[in-house]
């Protein structure tokens, strides 16, 4: 199903700049940001946090059967990235040979097209990752 326009727009700043939150009570980072710290609950104090965009590959796969709207991108590398600050996030690894990806490799955030409705539709941009230099 095509995600609604406001849904794609609403977290633009966070998606473009990898902005999440940090709990000042326990020091845990969250991406996407949370309104409630699951560890501290009522005692939590969440503030906005801009991630450095650097991290390491925690796990990865090569998606060869894509959902609607991603067909043109196959095969693409999908990974869970362990950000340096401690939060984990799902994102693609771009411009890489899938055979050379390994768990533990250093990556950094890049700004790419995430999704396109159709040639006349909205383009959604956001973070992906590439292997660090």
């Amino acid at each position: 199903m095509k995600p609604g326009l406001p849904l794609l727009w609403r977290r633009t700043k966070e998606r473009y700049n990898l902005i999440g939150s940090k709990c000042e009570s326990c020091g845990t980072h969250y991406m996407p940001g949370r309104a409630v710290c699951p560890k501290c609950r009522r005692k939590g104090k969440l503030v906005e946090h801009k991630f450095s965009g650097k991290g390491r590959i925690y796990s990865y796969t090569v998606v060869r059967v894509a959902p609607e709207g991603y067909e043109y991108f196959v095969p693409y590398v999908l990974a869970i990235i362990n950000l340096d600050e401690g939060a984990k996030i799902t994102g693609q690894i771009v411009d890489a040979d899938p055979d050379k990806i390994e768990v533990g490799q250093k990556v950094e955030m890049v700004f790419r097209k995430i999704h396109e409705d159709n040639p006349e539709g909205l383009i959604t941009y956001g973070f992906k990752f590439k292997l660090a230099d």
Binding site: E71, Y72, D95, V110, F111, K113, Y125
Partner: protein, 346 residues
């Protein structure tokens, strides 16, 4: 002090390359003749998820990091491109959002074929010069398309260059600007057309050469300078041949123009081409070096600049020099290139 200069710059070039020989193979052309005729042997190709906006963001982030300023202090954002992702909806707001410069800024897109990037830089210069703002950014970014089999297909590349201008702590001063424009139909693309049309050999003398010479002579006349007064000269580079020819006609030497000649390695990056050349020159320039810049945009016009490297240039080198960026490359075949450029209909 109303002197305006370059506080930082950034360049982004996709990592994919296709060799001219690979394109020639598909169309039954002779590689040697193409390489010699155009003065380039390969070009950059955007990834499937790259467009003028993503390249502009990458370049802009590098420029902000080079300048070391708070992006929120950037109060204008101009992006020139002939391949804006949207016909209607600005690229400038995407980039401004992605570098954290929103919402208190002036943002707009430009289109003037290959000189839309320098048009953005000139307008940034003007806003700062007038005292209206302290920092502004001008970007040239393109992922241009050439019609399959056309001569342009060998050269239409992809890249972006962002120039962050300001008054304080600049690495180079913009000492003067000059522009030259006439109505000349050398190259165009109509609304809804995928590929541009051009006048073939007409693009040469009445188009590129007349305007680049007009711009370059104009800025030298305005500044009272001669070619020998410049350490470097950067001309728009639609291929590897035209800028070398125009340099000769104007009296510049190979030593002055080769450092800023990047098209032979990445193709014509359109709105970014002149600015990437300038970035490559700034990577190497010494304090006090004078640089002449003359862009060209079909339709037609040229924006010229007289720039002088400041004393800060040595201690504030860019972390992503152009010649290192262009070395990060992987070759693709024509089939993959056709997929990347969405020439395949799914």
């Amino acid at each position: 002090m109303s002197c305006v200069g370059i506080a930082g710059y950034g360049v982004s070039i996709p990592s994919y390359r296709i060799k001219a020989g690979e394109i020639a193979r598909v169309w039954g052309e002779e590689e040697g003749r193409i390489v010699k005729g155009l003065g380039l042997s390969e070009k950059s190709v955007p990834g499937l998820d790259e467009d003028a906006a993503t390249l502009a963001v990458d370049a802009a982030r590098r420029a902000v990091s080079h300048a070391g300023i708070d992006p929120y202090d950037i109060k204008s954002m101009f992006i020139g491109s002939e391949s804006h992702p949207y016909a209607v909806k600005p690229t400038a707001t995407i980039v401004a959002e992605a570098i954290g410069a929103t919402p208190n800024l002036f943002a707009a897109d430009y289109e003037f074929a290959c000189k839309a990037g320098t048009a953005g830089v000139i307008n940034t210069y003007a806003l700062i010069k007038s005292g209206e703002i302290d920092y502004g950014m001008g970007i040239g970014a393109d992922t241009s398309q050439g019609r399959p089999g056309d001569a342009l297909e060998y050269s239409a590349g992809a890249g972006a260059a962002a120039f962050l201008l300001g008054r304080k702590d600049v690495i180079a001063n913009i000492e003067g600007i000059y522009s030259y424009a006439t109505d000349t139909p050398d190259f165009w693309r109509r609304e809804h057309a995928i590929y541009p049309s051009h006048g073939g050999r007409f693009t040469g003398p009445p188009g590129y050469f007349k305007h680049v010479i007009g711009g370059a002579k104009g800025i030298m006349e305005k500044m009272g300078t001669k070619p020998r007064d410049y350490a470097y000269a950067v001309f728009h580079q639609p291929n590897g041949k035209f800028p070398r020819t125009v340099a000769k006609k104007l009296g510049f030497t190979a030593e002055q123009i080769e450092p800023g000649l990047i098209t032979p390695y990445i193709g014509n990056t359109y709105s970014a081409a002149t600015l990437i050349g300038l970035a490559a020159v700034l990577d190497a320039a010494k304090p006090g070096d004078a640089i002449l810049v003359a862009s060209f945009g079909s339709g037609a016009g040229s924006d010229a600049f007289h720039i002088e490297a400041s004393d800060l240039i040595d201690e504030r080198r860019n972390a992503y020099p152009v010649r290192r960026i262009i070395e990060n490359k992987r070759y693709i075949d024509y089939g993959t290139y056709a997929k990347h450029r969405r020439k395949l209909v799914l």
